[in-house]
């Protein structure tokens, strides 16, 4: 049955992988696209990137971090449950071309989002370097999968518990200093990471794409909640994006808009803990 949860499991401390039945989405999803889902009738509509799609099984895979109330709610579903709503694929797919050397940078749960893009760039014959980073070893997800598509794979942890100690942006700076022929940098991760990536690549004049995780409601262009300033124009992440030229993004505005509901988020998470009988 469409929208049914096939499996859900823990990838790391607060990151989960969920496989959902969806005939329509699995048939059309391409790297870079996302979907919007509601866990139950009271839920928010939340956008999540599609990590992979299986046309034969008619399933799609999502990897998400239990960061706020809505993602925690999604994290509580069990196989057999049926999501209340699931619509997609949405947004433009990544434009995949043979460019030569491409560097992909993934931070946190953004690693899950760069994997399908890295694979697609590799599949058309690019030389693919992947840099991933997280606070600790546990957060470096999809290591095995990415290793199969990356010509060069650099792992970074903030605490040095795996790979090199440091940030993805440290590795990127070094790479760009020594490799002058990088044609594209593609980054997904926390806004601050993407902003730093943009700052570095601007110096080296390397074209850079970022996939923006904005707030959304409908996800089909109808509400404008996801609007971002790109250059001097208002663009909607849902229908014009989610990928944009990193050097054109108004990062400060994105950070502001993304924190519109922090008070409500804290409130509902506190309520949630109370309901579960956990002392906050």
């Amino acid at each position: 049955m469409d929208k049914q949860v096939i499996s859900i499991d823990k990838v790391s401390e607060n990151i989960k992988r969920i496989v959902i039945k969806s005939r329509y989405i699995s048939d059309k999803a391409l790297p870079g696209q996302f979907l919007v889902l509601m866990t139950n009738e009271q839920s928010e509509r939340i956008p999540l990137t599609i990590v992979s799609a299986d046309k034969t099984d008619e399933t799609i895979t999502l990897i998400f971090q239990e960061a706020g109330f809505s993602t925690k709610e999604l994290g509580r579903v069990i196989p057999g449950d049926r999501l209340f709503s699931l619509a997609g694929p949405l947004g433009h797919a990544t434009h995949i071309d043979k460019l030569g050397r491409v560097i992909l940078v993934g931070g946190g749960v953004g690693i899950a989002e760069i994997y399908p893009v890295a694979k697609a760039f590799k599949d058309v014959g690019n030389e693919v370097t992947v840099i991933v980073g997280g606070r600790n070893k546990d957060l470096l997800i999809l290591k095995d999968e990415i290793a199969t598509v990356a010509d060069r794979f650099i792992l970074m942890t903030d605490d040095g518990s795996y790979g090199r100690k440091g940030y993805t942006t440290d590795a990127l700076s070094e790479l760009l200093k020594e490799e002058k022929d990088c044609r594209l940098v593609y980054a997904v991760g926390p806004v601050l990471m993407m902003q730093r990536v943009a700052g570095i690549t601007e110096k080296y004049k390397v074209k850079t794409l970022v996939s923006l995780n904005t707030l959304m409601v409908d996800g089909t262009g109808m509400c404008g909640c996801c609007r971002v300033k790109i250059g001097n124009e208002i663009r909607f992440a849902c229908v014009d994006g989610p990928e944009f030229d990193a050097h054109e993004v108004d990062w400060q505005e994105l950070i502001w808009r993304n924190s519109t509901y922090i008070e409500q988020e804290e409130h509902i998470c506190r309520l949630d803990l109370k309901l579960k009988g956990v002392d906050s």
């Binding site: 929208k3 329509y24 989405i25 048939d27 059309k28 509601m38 009271q42 839920s43 928010e44 509509r45 109330f69 809505s70 709610e73 209340f84 709503s85 699931l86 619509a87 997609g88 694929p89 949405l90 409601v217 409908d218 089909t220 262009g221 109808m222 509400c223 404008g224 909640c225 609007r227 971002v228 300033k229 208002i234 909607f236 229908v239 108004d250 400060q252 505005e253 950070i255 502001w256 808009r257 924190s259 519109t260 509901y261 409500q264 988020e265 409130h267 509902i268 309520l271």
Partner: protein, 473 residues
């Protein structure tokens, strides 16, 4: 009784209504509707029907109401309009049937107060049919039983096209992008104007005619146009609606807590943000709300904001900023009246110039005063800025309700569908046929922003053409 004046209908008091999202206008009782219907002059050459986008035989249904033959009245309306309970509530009748009523003076911009309250009589009859479960008088023929039509979008145009086609025995499947059917009727129009049980009933009535509704399907992404035909549909009707909200293009417009009217209304109407945290979608409504625009959507947003302020225990403080004067407000006159009654303040001849913020959240709005100059291409006087007239108002929530552009999700991946420079689908206005064979369109995606009943008028024309195309084969 003074027969020259219309029978007054009941409404919730302004104190009562701001406490809830309950319907404001209570419509006519039977006694009242009989009196109002008796005011109709039953003109030899009635003009009212000419003002109705779907050409309801108004004179005749009003006559049957005077005879208390509500069943007959209901079927006369249903012959032209499948949704009398909806249209009786949301039609801007003062610009349509009531403006054409003989009791309105010629060349008035909108209906005279004396004009027959056709919409309220229609609403009474529609509600009577709904409460008494009067079936639609249809003759389903076997002729179209093997025909299948895909209707894209479940707003007024889509619902109407589906109803017309299903009534003729065509198998109809509606594909809706959101998780609930109804389009603008569910995400846009607030329940205090259109109660959700009314909408739910009308949708159930459609399903009873055999219409299947599939939600969560974004046409152009999940299903491409060609695939509908490959899946066995004989024709496709595009009722995509007006999609993309417009913004002002002034500095500071992307600060947090500045909403498009679509977002603001969707959060409340579709996602129940006013019931947070029981419903998980949040909304921020502060103490100083400014709505920009003068249409029905602006009124809906303002009145929604008032209700949320009230529920939070705030003083009501909602301003509508409009660059022309009260006379040019495009909203329904009833809604403007309701907005005033609910304590909303209108700032006419005022143009927003900039939003200012504090920590990324809007805190002030800078405006300019305007005066009316020469008429523009729409025939309305063009507002001109008065230099040096800047003033600042506190504003912690802003809603931009300045119109919508076409949603290009489907058309951008379907170049064979010809669109105009605004992105609206180009159609033959007689048949509603698009540039692609067996694909028809209607509603806001072909005409910019129209009314519910105009969308339905187009959908009916499209349905007729679709049936005719089946006959021709």
């Amino acid at each position: 009784m003074d027969r020259k004046l219309p029978v007054k209908w009941a409404e919730l008091s302004s104190q009562e209504r701001v406490m809830s999202f309950d319907e404001v206008s209570l419509g006519y009782t039977e006694e009242q509707v009989l009196k109002e219907a008796a005011r109709c002059l039953q003109c030899e050459d009635p003009q009212c029907s000419k003002g109705c986008p779907v050409g309801i035989d108004i004179k005749s249904f009003i006559y049957h109401v005077t005879q208390r033959e509500y069943n007959k009245a209901y079927n006369i309306i249903r012959a032209r309009n499948d949704f009398p309970s909806i249209c009786g509530r949301v039609c801007p009748s003062e610009y349509q049937c009531r403006k054409s009523c003989i009791l309105t003076k010629k060349n008035s911009p909108f209906a005279d107060e004396k004009a027959i309250n056709i919409h309220l009589i229609e609403r009474f009859v529609g509600d009577y049919g709904r409460k008494n479960k009067i079936p639609k008088n249809i003759k389903v023929t076997e002729k179209y039983k093997n025909k299948k039509v895909a209707v894209i979008g479940s707003g007024p145009a889509g619902l109407c096209a589906a109803g017309e086609l299903a009534s003729s025995g065509v198998k109809v499947v509606i594909f809706e992008a959101l998780h609930k059917p109804g389009g603008v009727l569910v995400y846009g129009i607030p329940p205090f104007r259109l109660p959700r049980d009314v909408l739910a009933h009308e949708i159930k009535t459609l399903q009873a005619l055999g219409v299947e509704i599939k939600t969560d399907i974004v046409a152009g992404r999940a299903v491409l146009l060609d695939e509908f035909f490959a899946d066995g549909f004989d024709a496709v009707f595009l009722g995509l609606g007006a999609g993309i909200p417009g913004f002002l293009g002034v500095p500071g417009e992307n600060l947090a807590n500045i909403y498009s009217a679509n977002e603001f209304l969707t959060r409340v109407n579709l996602m129940s943000a006013h019931k947070f945290p029981e419903y998980r979608t949040p909304i921020n409504v502060g103490r100083h709300v400014v709505i920009v625009g003068g249409g029905n959507t602006a009124m809906d947003a303002a009145r929604t904001a008032v209700r949320i302020q009230k529920s939070k225990g705030y003083e009501i403080n909602v301003k509508i900023v409009y660059r022309r004067t009260e006379k040019e407000l495009p909203a329904r006159r009833f809604e403007i009246g309701h907005a005033y009654e609910e304590g909303i303040i209108f700032k006419f001849l005022t143009l927003p110039a900039e939003f200012e913020g504090l920590d990324g959240r809007v805190s002030k709005i800078k405006c300019l005063e305007c005066r009316l100059g020469e008429p523009d291409e729409s025939g309305r006087m063009r507002p001109e800025k008065i230099p040096g007239s800047e003033f600042i108002m506190p504003c912690d929530t802003a809603v931009i309700a300045v119109g919508l552009g076409a949603n290009k999700v489907l058309t951008s991946v379907t170049p064979s569908i010809k669109t105009d420079r605004w992105g609206d689908i180009i159609i033959d206005p007689n048949t509603m046929a698009t540039s692609v064979k067996n694909v028809f369109a209607g509603g806001d995606i072909v005409g910019g922003e129209g009314t519910v009943i105009e969308a339905m008028g187009m959908a009916k024309r499209a349905a007729v053409s679709i049936l005719r195309s089946f006959d021709d084969k």
